[in-house]
Amino acid sequence: MSMVIVWALSWWYGAGWKSVLLGLKERLALSYDYFSIGLLASTLFAPFRQISAGRVQGPIGIQIRAAVDKLISRIIGAIVRLILIFVGAVWLFVQSLIGVLVLVAWAFLPILPVIGFIVMLSGWVPTWR
């Protein structure tokens, strides 16, 4: 029996802990991909949906107008992208925080019954008044 406990604990603080860490890493990578953070950052100032993109030939007036249109498309694109990058970043932060908490809790789980026993002995219970 004692060997079983040793094997269980060595897995818990070894491969088990590592798998939780890898799981967190995979989830973060999926979220990073879902919010297209890298793609959006690298194309931050690209015309949004190619609207008003491309070369325009003609008199200077038309060219100036096309350049302004393109600039507006780029600005709109940058705003929309920044919003999504921000939402994604917040989500990644929350996910990382939860992940770190799980990793820390993982370390204390084997001794949780001991903690529970001590709390029981202390006789403390929450009061609802």
Binding site: W11, F48, Q50, R81
Partner: protein, 818 residues
């Protein structure tokens, strides 16, 4: 190599522990954890501090479940060269006793999930494996040794499949035993690869795809027209990937595609290959690779979308003149402006030729393709590509050609192994390993309109309808091809058929008189074929029947088609006097769409039949040369260069060359056996047949002229034929024996054999019966008897008519011939 098995090793103990927890116990642990949590929380809520202890105790069953799922369920293999317990698959390891014998190993293997794979897919059942395994503990060492050799690396797991292989190999008569299941030892090795590959597929597809996310296409344009007139296969794939194998031929084509589109040259590629070769699958695999964030690709290709244009919806949306060209230009403009689109024209010939459902857009497309800025993939049949190239050379020159070759047998089997997962799920069936090899073998032989692997997949899919208790076996595949093609591919096993084969001569003689040698050789050939002992790469039998007219050569072919092949319509008959010019070769091998009566078209439609080449001596030498391959290998290529199989046909050529010589020999008192060989030599010497042509036949059979007693039997057969016709009216005809002899006398012509007999019977018997019916003399249930005097009277009338006709210059026999 010395191998050891340690029952007490930590890995073995963990495996056994994992086995104890699996199933119900895992759920029990979860239940305990939940109950402790709930009970503890309730106690804390009512201010009982013991609740804290209960709640915290839930951590231990929770940990046990995590440990089980993370390690114990499938204890990872360790690195070892000779320690079995360190590398053995844990589900097998958990079931082994302290000192296992081969029987114990077999039992443990067959209780594991991977062992069951071999039971279901290969028919190597637990009973089978236990029966061939030794109960002696000392015999376990060679089993371990054989299995350990199969591992690739030291760290690789020793799987249940490897143990199945080792256990079977240890059995001294394993070859014979496996043959019973239509298997060889290498097949079990292939099974191990198949199992590993399936496990890898499941691992890959259980991983979530990273496809760029919600902002992926924000830098690219909107594509409303493409959404309407095309299929975005990238989007379809994002929902769930392909179950595709990395075939060498496909990987090469994929790399070429990536290379083409990542360089600065013309951004187009045409995939050229026969239908069924996997062109569309390659486009799908290409789209999947572009969509995978983890794949190593140039930045300008990643997340590009492949959209397949639908020619039918394009044509229906723009029916007017010039409308389609305009629509296409708008679509192409949209694709170019969007900057992330790779257009695919599947079956691209539809865009380059006029016809039903197709339209020639060559003039519009060529400048765009030549400019090379729009990314475009075309798929095309090789023949069509060449045809279009003849008409539109600039188009072909502007395209980057990628040839797709048909898959080899190994590759086709691998494709089937992957694709059958879809079919199994959809049709709720399981395929055996043997069914895959059989699907390859039979589809190669009988399905001509597709290339591999498409043709084998087609057959495999249709075999699902013939599954037995949800299992698709070799028999299911054979049934599928037998039902769809009308051939017999399985060995004769049913009582009826066996009986028929054993009594084939008697059955044929029910409608054929004498010619026992000819009937015998044909019957033997069929028996060999249906017992599975013939050469599979030749026709069932090839025979040359020589003899005068009217001795039963053609009749034997007909009788065979009727008795065994399922009806006289099972005969493919060619009068070779219609093939007297060298140009007639093209008619012989014409495409079924142009000439359904060509030899190849008929054989393609009806491969299980009698091929009768009447009056072969009249055919042009070029025609005979063309037929050589059919006689030799059972294969003939049609004008489209498709292989048409004659390997399920009996080929009978008839000739009356040298008929006079045969008569001379018989008149001089020779028996057939005495002059047969000499006669064939004479035919060669007189240049009537070339020796290489005669050599191609399995048997050359000389038919002898019929004698009077035999002709009497022929009369009986013909009268029986008349009675068969009259059976509906319940009238019977009887001919007196004197009348029969008279019929023979009048109907026999030494030059024409028994052939005039039919005309005589028509004149005498049928005419008399017709008159009796019309006069009301013969009614249902009555019997009409034909006497010698009636024959005499009918024949004298006929002779008078004939004399008058001769006087007036009209010959009735000419009319009959006409």
């Amino acid at each position: 190599m010395e191998v050891k098995f340690d029952y007490k090793s930590p890995r073995a103990a963990k495996s056994r522990l994992g086995r104890h927890i699996s199933g119900l116990n895992e759920w029990l642990l979860i239940l305990v954890a939940v109950l402790l949590l709930v009970a503890g929380a309730c106690l804390v809520l009512v201010a009982v501090p013991t609740g804290w202890l209960l709640m915290s105790l839930a951590a231990w069953p929770f940990m046990a479940v995590q440990w089980y799922r993370g390690e114990l369920r499938d204890v990872p293999a360790e690195q070892s060269e000779n320690q079995v317990d360190a590398v053995l698959e844990s589900s097998v390891l958990a079931r082994l006793p302290k000192q296992p014998s081969p029987v114990d190993i077999a039992r443990a293997v067959m209780q594991s999930r991977h062992g069951l794979f071999f039971a279901v897919r290969f028919g190597i059942t637990p009973n089978f494996l236990e029966q061939i395994s030794s109960p002696e503990q000392s015999d376990a060492t060679p089993v371990w040794q054989t299995a350990m050799v199969l591992r690739d690396k030291d760290s690789d797991e020793l799987t249940a499949g490897m143990l199945v292989y080792a256990l079977v190999k240890q059995f001294p008569e394993h070859d014979a035993l496996l043959a019973h299941n239509h298997l060889e030892l290498t097949d079990i090795k292939n099974g191990i690869d198949w199992q590993n590959h399936l496990a890898a597929l499941v691992r890959t597809h259980s991983r979530k795809l990273r496809t760029g996310g919600i902002g992926r296409d924000w830098s690219f344009g909107y594509t409303p027209l493409l959404t309407r007139f095309g299929q975005n296969i990238s989007q379809q794939l994002a929902g769930g990937g392909l179950l595709n194998v990395d075939l060498d031929s496909h990987t090469e084509a994929l790399d070429q595609l990536i290379d083409t589109f990542s360089n600065d040259g013309r951004q187009n590629a045409v995939l050229v290959g026969t239908m069924g070769v996997g062109k569309t699958t390659i486009v799908h695999a290409f789209a999947e690779r572009l969509l995978d964030a983890s794949s190593k690709l140039p930045g300008n290709l990643k997340f590009r979308q492949v959209i397949m244009l639908d020619s039918a919806s394009l044509i229906s949306a723009a029916p007017g003149r010039g409308e389609l060209e305009e629509l296409i230009m708008r679509i192409f403009g949209e694709a170019y402006a969007a900057k992330n689109i790779i257009l695919c024209l599947d079956d691209a010939q539809l865009f380059f030729e006029e016809g039903v459902g197709s339209v020639d857009l060559g003039n519009v497309l060529v400048p765009i393709i030549e400019a090379g800025r729009l990314r475009l993939i075309l798929t095309m049949d090789e023949q069509r590509f060449l045809q279009i190239g003849q008409r539109n050379a600039p188009l072909v020159n502007a395209l980057n050609r990628i040839n797709i070759q048909p898959a080899s047998k190994e590759d086709t089997i691998r494709v089937m192994q992957d694709q059958l997962l879809h079919t199994e799920f959809r049709r709720k069936v399981t395929y055996t390993y043997q069914s895959l090899s059989e699907a390859y073998r039979l589809s190669e032989r009988y399905i001509h309109d597709l290339a591999m692997p498409g043709r084998a997949l087609k057959l495999l899919e249709s075999a699902a309808s013939y599954s037995e208790n949800g299992l698709v076996t070799m028999n299911s595949v054979q049934n599928a091809i037998e039902q769809t093609m009308g051939v017999k591919v399985a060995n004769a096993s049913e009582g009826d058929e066996r009986e028929k084969l054993l009594n084939l001569e008697a059955l044929i003689h029910e409608r054929m008189i004498n010619q026992t040698r000819a009937v015998g050789v044909v019957s033997d050939a069929l028996r060999r074929a249906r017992a599975g002992v013939r050469n599979q790469d030749r026709p069932i039998g090839t025979f040359l029947f020589l003899g005068p007219t009217g001795v039963g050569k053609t009749e034997l072919a007909k009788a065979l088609a009727d008795v065994y092949f399922g009806g006289e319509d099972r005969i493919i008959r060619l009068d070779m006097n219609e093939y007297v010019r060298s140009e007639d070769v093209s008619r012989l091998i014409a495409d079924g769409a142009d000439d359904p009566a060509s030899l190849t078209a008929q054989a393609m439609k009806q491969p299980f039949s009698v091929v009768l080449l009447d009056e072969i001596e009249k055919a042009h030498p070029s025609v005979l040369t063309t037929l050589l391959q059919m006689l030799d290998e059972g294969i003939l290529r049609d004008v489209k260069n498709r292989e048409v199989s004659f390997r399920d046909a009996i080929v009978i050529a008839t000739s009356n060359a040298g008929a006079n010589r045969i008569r001379e020999y018989i008149e001089r008192g020779y028996q057939l056996e005495q002059f047969e060989e000499k006669f064939v030599d004479e035919l060669i010497n007189s240049n009537e047949f070339r020796p290489e042509f005669l050599n191609r036949f399995d048997e050359i059979v000389v038919f002898r002229p019929l004698e009077k007693p035999e002709l009497l039997q022929v009369v009986d057969l013909m009268i029986a034929g008349v009675n068969k016709t009259l059976a509906l009216q319940k009238i019977t005809v009887e001919v007196e024996s004197g009348a029969k002899e008279l019929l023979v006398e009048k109907g026999y012509d030494p030059r024409l054999g028994a052939r005039p007999m039919r005309r005589v019977i028509q004149r005498v018997v049928e005419n008399n019966v017709a008159k009796a019916i019309l006069a009301g003399v013969a009614q249902a249930g009555s019997t009409i008897t034909i006497s010698a005097s009636q024959v005499e009277e009918a024949m004298s009338k006929a002779e008078q008519v004939s004399a008058i006709e001769k006087e007036s210059g009209y010959d009735s026999s000419d009319a009959a011939k006409r």
